[in-house]
């Protein structure tokens, strides 16, 4: 693997680390399998791209991508909490609807960002802080800082009184209510946070890759799950901070594994085989602990 391919894999891994953090919040903390992310990832990218093309400040455009993602999450969670629609189904509906919404926002399936200033521009050569870091390292370093900040913030939140209430909502809703936790509100806020992170991932994806595309969200949830599950395999720690670091490590390892598999010629893999491979990986990771458990209980009896 060339160093460019390696850096590219790390870069994508860091972007999907944000997705992994979001999926950790919905899937692990709230026990709310949320497919909205397949729509909120391209939504974040679309909103950011359109605003950048219109000449908006890159930070404002990125912020708008985050807010858009959070709103998508709100729709799913509100429909679930208020009308009692099954969470999985509600999120599929939002995801499908977002495909149309994203097309409307962009006006076409694809927007290229080649000349527009992005959040990265000041750090590239010719920018305000240009030359501080060699250009090829700017993107991975910038993303690493963003991801670290996200991990620190999410960890601080989940360890706070408010975050504990959210974790209890996912772990034991009846007990949470008995403790005065408004579980409906917790689910809405948590799913909004989750999709806000995914919206941020989409916004940064558009800016680092130079385009926004309506189809870029396909399989986001599976990649996020892969990040969470691979992370749990490599860093099997119960503490929140390490679990979140696990999501990041999992996402990067996953992208590196994909890049490696694609660069090994005799495997004969094409980029289009990726979804199948990812689905199989997640399936194996989901089934393995159960098989292991069964073997253990059988050995015990």
């Amino acid at each position: 693997m060339s160093s460019i391919a390696l850096l590219g894999a790390i870069e994508l891994g860091l972007i999907y680390a944000l997705v992994g953090l979001g999926v950790y919040l919905s899937f692990r903390v709230l026990d709310f399998p949320d497919l909205t992310v397949d729509g909120s990832f391209p939504l974040g990218a679309a909103v950011t791209a359109v605003l950048l093309v219109a000449g908006a400040d890159p930070w404002v455009a990125t912020g708008a991508g985050v807010v858009a993602g959070a709103l998508a999450g709100f729709v799913t969670a509100f429909v679930t909490v208020r009308f009692g629609v099954l969470h999985l189904l509600a999120s599929i509906l939002t995801m499908i609807a977002l495909f149309s919404v994203n097309l409307r926002i962009m006006g076409r399936p694809n927007i290229a960002l080649l000349t527009e200033a992005t959040v990265l521009t000041p750090w590239l050569s010719g920018g305000t802080f240009g030359g501080l870091v060699a250009d090829e390292y700017v993107r991975p370093l910038f993303l690493a800082v963003v991801v670290l900040a996200a991990v620190a913030l999410v960890a601080a939140f989940l360890r706070s009184e408010a975050g504990l209430a959210m974790r209890a909502t996912g772990a034991n809703p009846r007990m949470a209510r008995a403790q005065g936790v408004r579980t409906g509100v917790q689910i809405i806020v948590g799913v909004m946070l989750s999709n806000g992170l995914v919206g941020l991932a989409g916004a940064l994806f558009a800016q680092t890759n130079g385009f926004a595309d309506v189809t870029s969200g396909v399989g986001t949830i599976v990649v996020g799950l892969a990040a969470v599950i691979v992370g749990e395999t490599f860093i099997p720690r119960r503490r929140i901070f390490w679990a979140l670091v696990g999501c990041v490590v999992g996402a990067v390892i996953y992208r590196l594994a994909v890049q490696t598999a694609l660069s090994i010629d005799f495997l004969g893999l094409q980029a289009s085989d990726l979804n199948l491979a990812t689905a199989l990986l997640v399936l194996v990771a989901l089934v393995l602990p159960k098989l292991r458990h069964r073997v253990r209980t059988r050995a015990a009896s």
Binding site: S160, L164, A168, A178, G180
Partner: protein, 264 residues
Amino acid sequence: MIEVRDLVITFNPGSPLERKALRGISLRLGEGDFVSVIGSNGAGKSTLLGAIAGDMLPTSGRVLLGGSDVTRLPAEARSRHVARVFQDPLAGSCGNLSIAENLALAASRGQRRSFLPALRQSRLSKIRARIEELNLKLEDRLDQPMGSLSGGQRQALSLVMATLAPSSVLLLDEHTAALDPRNAEFVLGLTRDLAARFRLTVLMVTHSMRHALDIGTRTVMLHEGRILLDVAGAERAGLTIEDLLDQFRRARGEALAEDRLLTG
């Protein structure tokens, strides 16, 4: 402190599955009262507790806590006044959160939850002190998941959790039924101590007639959604388990041979 007026709860009204769980119950508990509620399966004990806690809304009637009408409030809005311990030791805590986290969660029951660390030092030392009192040697295991504890340990901690944040009412739903006799005695003793120490108004549902007569200041017997017996003071002191069984027999008009009540 706790008052219910003409409480009626009908499940699935108007359908073939209609079931009248409570058929007009009026009950008033003063501050510091400790009332044991007994009755056979389906008498409405748990439904009464659920209605006071806010798990289910009454078909008609009113629920008052501390003088204010809470009939329409959901459980989480009543939690400021009401602490609960469930029958299932798994139900009252989060198995995958640590012991300290579970207690921290309970320490802000019914209050606004801040963005400050839940396990900050001041709170941890308070939690540790309360756990040390139990003499269960759990104070060194604060980091371990709640799920690693035995049923008795979890119920003991549930009682501590119920008394961490200020409240006035404690609802106990057969909270010793899932425990072995030794642990049940320990948890009951703890219940008595904590109720007295925090001057709680307690409503304890039990299956055990002995506990219903031995513990608390008043005994209420439910039968088919109505109050069959409500005794306190000298009258209660003179009652035996045999007397209670008599009451049941008369109410049901059938031999007790088929009865599944526990007399232990």
